[in-house]
Amino acid sequence: MAAAKRSKPPPPNNPVPVATDPRVLRRAHFLMRLSRAWDARFEAMARVGRIGRWYSAVGNECTTVGTALALGANDAISTVHRDLGAVLTTYLDPTRLAPALFEDGDATPWDALRPSPQSLLDQLASQVFGRRGGFTRGVDRSFHYGLVRPDWGIRHVGMISHLGSMIPVAAGLALANLQDGNDRAVLGFIGEGATSQGDFHEALNLAGVMKLPLILVVENNRYAFSTPLSEQFACEKLSDRAPGYGIAGETIDGLDFDAVHAAMNRAVARARAGEGATLLECMLPRMRGHAEGDGSYELIPPAEREAYLRQDPLVRFEASLIERGHADVERIREVTEIARGIIEDAVERALLTEEPALTEATRPVFAPGEVATAFARQSTEVTGG
């Protein structure tokens, strides 16, 4: 049936115009390894029950890093649950985090705006553990927060659990750019499962009608929890929906960093030129289950599972670095080790941090002003706190 047809390799990519800049490749490699090291650490903790649940992004790095690297300061990103790579790419100045791995001229003007990468990594780790030092100080989980700091060049709006709900929000970030008359782009992520949500349709339709500078990346890892593509949608490729919204659409091999990055560059150019939105479907290998240890991985037929493991985009990327003379085996090992050490340290530090103060539970639901004052005037007996 249709499922078999769609689990074939993705259709060929559009021609890739240029070999990617070696500075971009160095940065991409380190960021992907950082993301992978993070997952490895949290997967290990999930296996021994030290954390409740972990949604791994293994296999998504090429797409999350390859797309986010095409953005500039104060372009915005909107992420969901497997987009650590895009978060790291947006937040961190790798040249300060791992100076040994970079060369003069690798730092970008945006890096000069960014804060200490170590402190952001520490906050991110504390966030995942629900600790005091996290972005939400314990009131929401892992990637459920935002960081909007124009002075740092960072505009990141994280997720709520309700998948699909952030696509219109990303469209709204793009709308604000249109209103301000700037040429900034917005990058949103979504899994292929959540493309079945109504908000996907409403947001892309709005993006088409208003020619919003929005790029929506669909991370098509072929399953949504346990649901395969054949039960999720009946079109051939999700990018086929793009013409229906009057926007550009491409399906890209998410194993191919150059292809992802080039497609994203094309989409960003369209957005900046006022030519509107793009739907970029990236075909990813399902290298992990939905959440670690939830039984969903075992549902994938073993032969299919093994094929995906052999398709590891990060391993492919490293092979291509060697092939093209950008790195040797020693360099690959060094990047991997340094990334692992950085994550190890950040996690260890976060585990030593304090739990949030209990008063965080009853912190204000309103930003300071008349309404917040009125809320605070109500008697605690009847408002439960």
């Binding site: 915005a76 909107s78 972005f135 939400t136 009131v139 929401d140 459920h144 927060y145 935002g146 960081l147 909007v148 124009p150 505009r155 709006v157 994280g158 709520i160 659990s161 309700h162 709900s165 952030m166 696509i167 219109p168 929000v169 990303a170 469209a171 709204g172 970030l173 793009a174 709308l175 604000a176 249109l178 209103q179 109504g198 908000d199 349709h201 409403e202 947001a203 339709n205 709005l206 009608v209 208003m210 912190r363 204000p364 639901v365 309103f366 930003a367 300071p368 002003g369 008349e370 309404v371 917040a372 004052t373 009125a374 809320f375 005037r377 109500q378 008697s379 007996e381 009847v382």
Partner: protein
């Protein structure tokens, strides 16, 4: 001084706030050149253009989500739902995304969602609802329902300026029926403050929006019978001005709550609970409610009027309560 209708007051508020702050923009269906189903934004498109008076496709959830995105980067969106009933299509965005953002990561969400609501027009089950309780139940939303042109103006302006999401309920029946002479100038009504619409000694009525006017009419009737009724216009339902409410109840010792929304788990239930909790020792009678029967709003106007909590039902309830 010019006579201003309730809908004029809304239009004036939108216009004044758009002039005052370039971050303020309007979004909704048919609101641009057409001026909106009730002409609330008439003339503003011509003045401010298509990026500040935005006609959206026929959408609610996506429009509210987009407004949230814009608000997170410094805009002050004011959304119009064509009818309050359709806000149900945007419920998830409001209760899960908009309302929870500030608590979760402390990003202010300055946003107003205007809901033209209420019955009395024989408009049937899908154009007559009073959805305030859906939102008052959700932490993080301010819910307001002005009853006069003066407050329609002042509360909309205050709502647009507040850094939080405000659900603004505007009653369609009042749009062209309520008129007031309003002075020029920057007229603001504080959010979170009730208003004593009529002073009295014997019974307190707690109400808002259209039923506030019906309550005032009933109070007038009772005055002829020697019963002095105090009528509180809540104006803001959440957060609630308990001070004003409890002071009145402690003075009169009897409470009648009147609202147009259906009775079960309506906002009146919350008011009754708070009054029972905080004014128990002062009460001389049951805390009573007059509200809509637990039914959808029927289409035939006679049928609808038979369910609407108008002045006759309020008057009857007041008489009974006064006897305690």
């Amino acid at each position: 001084m010019a006579e201003t209708t309730y809908i004029d007051a809304i239009r004036r508020a939108l216009g004044e706030e758009m002039d005052r702050d370039a971050a303020v923009f309007l979004m909704g269906q048919d609101i641009a050149a057409f001026g909106g189903a009730f002409r609330a934004s008439k003339g503003l498109f011509e003045k401010h253009g298509r990026l500040r008076v935005i006609n959206t496709p026929l959408m609610e959830s996506g429009a509210i989500g987009a407004a949230l995105g814009a608000a997170l980067v410094g805009k002050r969106p004011v959304l119009e739902m064509q009818f309050a009933d359709f806000v149900s299509c945007g419920f998830n965005q409001i209760v899960n995304n908009v309302a929870k953002t500030y608590y979760r990561w402390e990003a202010p969400v300055p946003m107003v969602i205007r809901l033209p609501f209420g019955g009395g027009a024989g408009a049937g089950p899908f154009h007559s609802q009073s959805p305030e309780a859906w939102f008052a139940h959700t932490p993080g939303l301010c819910v307001v329902a002005p009853s006069t042109p003066r407050d329609a103006l002042g509360m909309l302006k205050a709502a647009i300026r507040d850094p939080n999401p405000v659900i603004y309920l505007e009653h369609r029946f009042l749009y062209r029926r309520e008129k007031e002479d309003l002075p020029e100038g920057d007229l603001l009504t504080p959010l979170g403050r009730a208003h004593v619409a009529r002073e009295g000694r014997d019974v307190t009525i707690l109400s808002w929006s259209w039923t506030l006017h019906e309550s005032l009419a009933a109070a007038e009737e009772l005055a002829k019978e020697g019963v002095s009724v105090e009528v509180i216009d809540l104006r803001t339902l959440s957060p609630l001005d308990e001070e004003t409410i409890f002071a009145s109840v402690r003075k009169t010792s009897k409470v009648l709550i009147v609202h147009e929304a259906t009775i079960t788990a309506g906002f009146g239930a919350e008011l009754a609970a708070r009054v029972a909790d905080q004014c128990f020792e002062w009460l001389d009678g049951p805390v009573r409610r007059v509200a809509y029967a637990d039914r959808p709003s029927p289409y035939n106007k006679k049928l609808e009027l038979s369910l609407l909590p108008g002045r006759e039902r309020i008057t009857a309830a007041l008489r009974k309560l006064a006897r305690y």
